[in-house]
Structure formats: C-alpha cells, structure tokens
C-alpha cells in the first residue's frame, strides 16, 4: 500500500514537472551589419533577419514574465560603441499565426518586465535597436550580449 502510494506520488511529481517545462531559444541575433563611423543605424523590430527574435515554448495559456538584460555598449577589444534600446523597441506575438510586421503586442518597452501568456504556437519576441558609432569609431566587429530570462508566474 505504502509502495503504491509512493509510486503514485512520484508519477504526480514527474507529471507536474513536465507540465511546467518551458524553453526559450534565440532564433535570430540583433544584427546591424555594416556600419559606417559617424552614421547611426537603426534596426526595426519588424525587420526579419536583422531584428533579434526569441521564441518561447511551453504550456499554452500559462503566464510568463520576460526580462531582457540589455547592453548599453557593444565592444571589440577596448573599443566601445553605444547601443540604444528605446521604450518601443520590442514586440510580442502569441497568436497562432505570428507576424513580425504586424505583431499582436507592439511597441513594448524592453527595459521592463513583460508579462504575457504563451499561445498555442508559443510566444515570439522581437527586438530592434540603434547603434551610434562615433566619427572616429575604430573599425571592427562589435558584439554584446542580450540575455532573456523567462519565468512562469504560476498563473
């Protein structure tokens, strides 16, 4: 009897863990491409292939919070270049047919925690930005990290 109870409880535990399993992946990095010193460059969140795209999979209907840790500079060696994320540079689509050019939730602030529910087709997040190279910006391939953290709220 005790053994059966234990097995049942363990199965419940496994089922519970699977129920709340989730995953976030990077589909596309934010890519500014070729940049000239002295000329700022903007990548729109709606520009496929250049805007950052993150995909969150998980239980449909579950509420999650999304936090982005954004850089303020990009680097190569000891050289820095300013990168700016405005309060409208993010968009999210949780619909069954996600559309980067006409997202379900547009002009979101990437600097604040975003709370949404995962849709039947997961959740897509897009991010644009601006870089501001100086007139005498050193030549090179600049990079910086964008960290996305997705957490279930339990709601």
């Amino acid at each position: 009897m005790k053994k059966n109870l234990l097995i049942i409880l363990l199965l419940l535990l496994i089922a519970s863990s699977q129920l709340f399993a989730q995953n976030v992946i990077v589909n596309n990095n934010l890519t500014f491409g070729t940049v000239y010193p002295g000329i700022p460059k903007t990548i729109s969140k709606a520009t496929a292939g250049f805007a950052a795209e993150f995909y969150v999979s998980g239980t449909a209907g579950s509420e999650i919070t999304i936090d982005l840790a954004l850089p303020t500079y990009m680097n190569v060696g000891s050289s820095n270049m300013q990168v700016i994320f405005q309060e409208t540079d993010c968009a999210i689509d949780t619909s069954a047919t996600p559309d980067q050019t006409n997202p379900e939730f547009n002009n979101l602030d990437p600097w604040h925690t975003l709370t949404y529910r995962i849709g039947s087709n997961g959740l897509y997040l897009w991010l644009g930005g601006i870089i501001v190279p100086g007139l005498s910006q050193n030549e090179g391939s600049y990079a910086s990290n964008i960290v996305i953290t997705v957490t279930y709220t339990g709601n």
Partner: protein, 184 residues
C-alpha cells in the same frame, strides 16, 4: 502504529506537494542572444599636393589642368572600400599675400575636377570615376575605391587671373574639402 503510518503518509504528501509548488513557481529558462555590428574604417582626407600655379606674370592669366601631375591639387580620401560618401568643396574666389595687402582672382570652371575611385594617385593617368566635373557641385554617388588600398582621389585644376598691377609676391588661399559617409 497506525498514527506513525499516517504521519509518514502526510510527510510524503507534503514533500510531493512542496516539490510541485516549487516546480510551479521556479520554472525558468534563460537564453543568451547577441547584438553584432561591423564598423568600417573611419574616413579621412589628406591634401596630398597643393594646387600650384608657380610663377605668374601681371596681366597674364594662368591655368593648371586637373591632369597636370606636378601642379594639380590632389586630395586623397581613405575609408571603407566601396562605401558611399558625400563630398563638398569650398573654393576661394581670391588668393592673397601673406600680409593681406593684395589679392588675386582665382577661378574654377565646371570641369576643373576629376575624381578617380581607383588607387591611382597620378592625375595624368585617370583610372575610373568622374572625369572633368564641377568642383562647386561634386557628383552624388561618390564611393571609396575598392582596390587593395581603398582610396578615392580628387584632382583639381584652376585658373588665376592676376591684374596688370598685381603686387609681386606669394599668394595663397584655402581649399577646403569635407567628406562624410552617407551610409550607402
């Protein structure tokens, strides 16, 4: 004995419920993306050779052509190969003595500049680009040359018109060229 069994059952249930609760509130995932950019070489321009009229006689105008290797003004623009640039030239109307006590007219025709987007630095051996265009309105669509050494050269000619009573001496004037990437 039964009480002990009940307590054990309760402990099992609490452990499992706790585990479920923990899973529910702490489920989290993190992904690391990146932002990347390739910054091209900074733009620079150097006056490689001044526009030199040499000896000039009172009342006799003198012209230097833009393909005169020894006398044409030469500017060297260096930047990212193939990058689009905009350029603007500020030309003097007069050149003056150092003391400023006399000045001489200088004129530029609308064919007095040649822009060579190869690495050719010799005004007399035009490579490719814009031949004999207007220095007061440099063409759009300028690019940095795509050779191994990415240069674009400006070769400038002009004409001085000394008066019949022009004071003897050395005359100079500033020729200012401004260049900037246009992002194209």
């Amino acid at each position: 004995m039964k009480n002990i069994l009940d307590i054990k059952k309760m402990i099992y249930v609490l452990i499992i419920l706790g585990s479920v609760l923990i899973n529910k509130v702490s489920a989290q995932d993190v992904a690391n993306g990146s932002a990347t950019a390739n910054v091209q070489a900074a733009l620079s321009i150097v006056a490689t050779q001044d526009l030199q009229f040499g000896s000039v006689f009172q009342g006799v105008s003198k012209t230097v052509t833009n393909n005169d290797a020894a006398a044409a003004g030469i500017f060297t623009i260096t930047g990212a190969a193939g990058a689009g640039i905009s350029a603007y030239m500020t030309l003097p109307q007069y050149i003056s003595t150092a003391a400023g006590d006399d000045r001489m007219t200088i004129a530029f025709r609308n064919t007095d500049i040649t822009i060579d987007s190869t690495s050719n630095a010799d005004p007399s051996a035009f490579g490719s680009g814009w031949l004999d265009v207007d220095p007061n309105s440099l063409p759009t669509g300028l690019v940095i040359g795509s050779d191994v050494t990415p240069h674009t050269m400006l070769f400038l000619g002009g004409r001085v018109i000394p008066s019949v009573d022009q004071s003897a001496g050395s005359y100079t004037g500033n020729i200012i060229v401004t260049v900037a990437y246009n992002g194209i």
